[in-house]
C-alpha cells in the first residue's frame, strides 16, 4: 500500500522509521510489475541501480539525516525519457538514438539526488516531445490508467500515467506547449510548467529552446510545490536560467488560513477562452470551480486576451523552426543509430530518414521551410511579432488579476487512434496550454472533477489550469492548493492505482 502515499505522507513515515526507502521502492516495483504491462508508462528501469540508491538513503536515514536537510530522502521519482541520467539509456522515445547512454546527469537529476531522491526509470513520451498522446513514440503507446482504451495525453504521457497509477511517487517531465499540464489533466494528477528560466535545462534534450521548461508531476499540490522548489534555481550551465533566488513555495502554502484563504486575490476568466464547442462537462466543471474560488474568498473577473486565436498558429511556426535547428544534432555522426552512405550528406539523410518518425519529420520539414530564404520574414519573424502581442495580452491582464483560470484541455482523454491521422486536430487539442509557453509565464493543472460515466465509458478526470505571472509560482501554488484542499479531487485514485 506504500505506493499509494503522497511524498509528504511517505517522508513522514520514513522519518519515523515506520518504513524504509527500500520498502517504498519495492512497493513501486511490485505495483509496476502488476500494472505496467497494461499501462506501458515505462520504457525501462534499472532495478539494481534503484535499490543501491534506496540502500544509501536508508543508511542516511539511520545516520539521522532529516527531511529538513534532504526533503526527498528515500522518495522514488521517475524521469521522462529526455532527461540525462548518467549511465542510463536516453532515447526520447525515438529510434534515432540507438543504444545511447547518458555520460552525465542533467542538473535536475543532480538536484533530485542531492535532495535524497531515488531517481529511477525512463518514461515513455511522444517522440522528441512532439505530440499530445504518446502515440508518436517509436516504441509504445502509453494508455490512460482511468480507461485503457484512451490516451494519457502527451507528450509526457508516461510521466502522468506512472503517477496516476501509483508506479512512482512523482515524475519529472518537460512542457513546450502543454506537455506537462495536458497529460496531468487527462490522468487526474497535478502538473506544473514553471516560468521560463526558473529550472535549468542542462541535460534536457532540446525541442524548442525558447519554449521548453522542465517541471514535476505529483499526486497533490504540496508535493508539486516541494518538487518545484527542489529543481528550481540558477545554473551556470544553462545560459537562459535566471540568476535570482528561489522562494519557499511550501512555506507559501501556509499563508492559506481560515475559511476564506484567498481573500484579496483576484482571478481572471479570459472571455476568448469561453469558446463555442467547449465540452459541456468541461464547461460545467469550470463553472463549479469558479463558484468554489468565490467561496474561498477570491474575486473572479473577466479579462481579455485578444490574440488567443493566433496562439496555435504562432506556436506551430516557432516550435518547429527551433526544433529543425535543435534536431540537426541527430546526424548519425557522434552518437545514436547510423545508416551508412557514400558521403556525409547521404549518411545524414539516410540516418534521419530511417531514425525519425512521421511527426518529427513533419515538424523538422515545416521548421526548415518557415526558416528558409524567402519565407523567413513571412512566417518566422511574423510569428515572433505575434508572440510579442500574445505576451503583452498576458502582462496586461496580470495588471488587474493575480492569475488566469482556464480548463486545461477542451475535452477529457480521447481514444487511442482518434486523432493520430490528423496532425492539425491533434495540434488543436493544446489550445489552452500553448500561450503559457509563448508568453513565458507559469502554469499548473489541478484535478477538478470527472466526466459522468456511461455504460461504455468510465468516468474520466478533468483538469483546471491556473496561469500565473512570470515568477508568480508562490501565488499560483496557493491558489491551486486552496482549491484542491477544499474539493478533495486529489484523493481520487485511478482503478489501476
Amino acid at each position: 500500500m506504500l505506493h499509494r502515499l503522497t511524498i509528504s505522507e511517505l517522508t513522514a513515515r520514513l522519518a519515523r522509521r515506520e518504513c524504509s526507502a527500500q520498502s517504498a521502492l519495492r512497493a513501486c516495483f511490485d505495483h509496476l510489475t502488476q500494472v505496467d504491462g497494461q499501462v506501458r508508462a515505462f520504457m525501462s528501469y534499472d532495478v539494481t541501480d534503484a535499490y543501491a540508491q534506496a540502500e544509501a538513503a536508508d543508511a542516511e536515514l539511520t545516520a539521522g539525516v532529516t527531511h529538513a536537510q534532504k526533503p526527498l530522502l528515500g522518495v522514488p521519482i521517475a524521469l521522462k525519457d529526455l532527461l540525462a541520467h548518467r549511465g542510463q539509456p536516453l532515447n526520447c522515445s525515438s529510434k534515432i538514438l540507438g543504444n545511447y547512454r547518458s555520460p552525465y546527469d542533467a542538473t535536475v537529476v543532480e538536484k533530485l539526488k542531492a535532495a535524497g531522491a531515488i531517481v529511477f526509470g525512463r518514461l515513455n513520451m511522444d517522440e522528441f516531445a512532439m505530440g499530445s498522446s504518446t502515440e508518436t513514440s517509436a516504441f509504445q503507446t502509453t494508455l490512460n490508467p482511468w480507461d485503457l482504451t484512451r490516451i494519457p495525453g502527451g507528450s509526457s504521457g508516461g510521466c502522468a500515467a506512472s503517477v496516476a497509477a501509483n508506479m512512482a511517487y512523482a515524475s519529472i517531465g518537460s512542457d513546450t506547449g502543454g506537455s506537462i499540464r495536458q497529460p496531468a489533466a487527462l490522468c487526474g494528477v497535478v502538473g506544473v510548467k514553471p516560468t521560463y528560466g526558473l529550472v535549468s535545462r542542462y541535460g534536457l534534450t532540446a525541442f524548442a529552446s525558447s519554449l521548453d521548461q522542465i517541471g514535476p508531476f505529483a499526486k497533490d499540490v504540496h508535493d508539486a510545490a516541494l518538487l518545484t522548489q527542489v529543481i528550481a534555481g540558477h545554473d551556470r550551465r544553462d545560459s537562459t536560467s535566471i540568476p535570482q533566488p528561489v522562494p519557499d513555495y511550501v512555506a507559501a502554502l501556509a499563508k492559506n488560513t481560515g475559511p476564506q484563504p484567498l481573500k484579496g486575490l483576484k482571478l481572471g476568466l479570459a472571455k476568448e477562452y469561453m469558446i463555442g464547442g467547449l465540452d459541456p462537462e468541461v464547461d460545467a466543471a469550470m463553472q463549479a470551480a469558479v463558484k468554489q474560488y468565490q467561496a474561498l474568498g477570491a474575486e473572479v473577473v473577466e479579462v481579455s486576451l485578444p490574440h488567443s486565436d493566433y496562439a496555435a498558429a504562432t506556436y506551430y511556426i516557432i516550435a518547429p523552426a527551433e526544433a529543425s535547428a535543435n534536431l540537426a544534432r541527430f546526424d548519425g555522426v557522434r552518437y545514436g543509430a547510423r545508416v551508412d552512405g557514400k558521403d556525409p550528406a547521404e549518411l545524414n539523410s539516410k540516418t534521419r530518414g530511417a531514425g525519425f518518425g512521421a511527426e518529427v519529420k513533419r515538424r523538422i520539414i515545416l521548421g526548415t521551410y518557415v526558416l528558409s530564404s524567402g519565407y523567413y520574414d513571412a512566417y518566422y519573424i511574423r510569428a515572433q511579432k505575434v508572440r510579442t502581442l500574445i505576451r503583452q495580452d498576458f502582462l496586461k491582464a496580470f495588471e488587474t488579476v493575480d492569475a488566469i483560470l482556464t480548463p486545461t484541455t477542451p475535452t477529457a482523454a480521447f481514444k487511442v487512434g482518434e486523432k493520430s491521422d490528423d496532425p492539425l486536430q491533434m495540434y488543436l487539442s493544446d489550445i489552452f496550454t500553448i500561450s503559457c509557453n509563448l508568453a513565458g509565464i507559469c502554469g499548473i493543472s489541478v484535478p477538478c472533477g470527472f466526466t459522468k460515466p456511461t455504460e461504455t465509458t468510465p468516468r474520466l478526470p478533468l483538469g483546471l489550469q491556473l496561469l500565473g505571472k512570470p515568477f508568480g509560482e508562490e501565488t499560483m501554488f496557493r491558489l491551486a492548493h486552496a482549491y484542491e484542499q477544499s474539493t478533495g479531487w486529489h484523493h481520487e485514485r485511478s482503478p489501476l492505482g
Binding site: 529543425s324 539523410s349 539516410k350 534521419r352
Partner: protein, 93 residues
C-alpha cells in the same frame, strides 16, 4: 501553398523520404500551412519580435579552464570510431 516543394525542403533538412512519405507528408503540411497562414490577419506594424520571453544578454563565465568529459566517455556512444576519433565517409577525394 502551391510553392511548397516537399522534396526540396526535405533535402534541405537532410531527411530521406520515400515516395509514400512525400505524398502523405506533403498533403498534411499543406493543411498545416493553410492553418498558420491566418497570422496574415494580424496587424504587426511596429511590433518588435520576441525571441525569448526573458532575454538575458552576454551570459558568460570566467575565462578559466574547467574539467570536461573524458575522451573515452565522449566517444562511448559513437556509431563508428577509430584511433580516438569519430569515423565518417570521406568528404574530399
Amino acid at each position: 501553398m502551391s510553392d511548397f516543394n516537399i522534396h526540396y525542403v526535405a533535402k534541405l533538412a537532410r531527411i530521406e523520404l520515400s515516395q509514400d512519405e512525400e505524398s502523405k507528408l506533403g498533403v498534411q503540411l499543406g493543411n498545416i500551412l493553410g492553418y498558420i497562414a491566418k497570422l496574415k490577419e494580424v496587424d504587426v506594424t511596429g511590433v518588435e519580435p520576441t525571441a525569448h520571453a526573458f532575454p538575458l544578454v552576454n551570459v558568460t563565465r570566467p575565462d578559466e579552464a574547467t574539467g570536461s568529459l573524458p575522451h573515452d566517455e565522449a566517444l562511448a556512444n559513437a556509431p563508428a570510431k577509430a584511433g580516438g576519433l569519430f569515423v565518417m565517409p570521406k568528404i574530399v577525394e
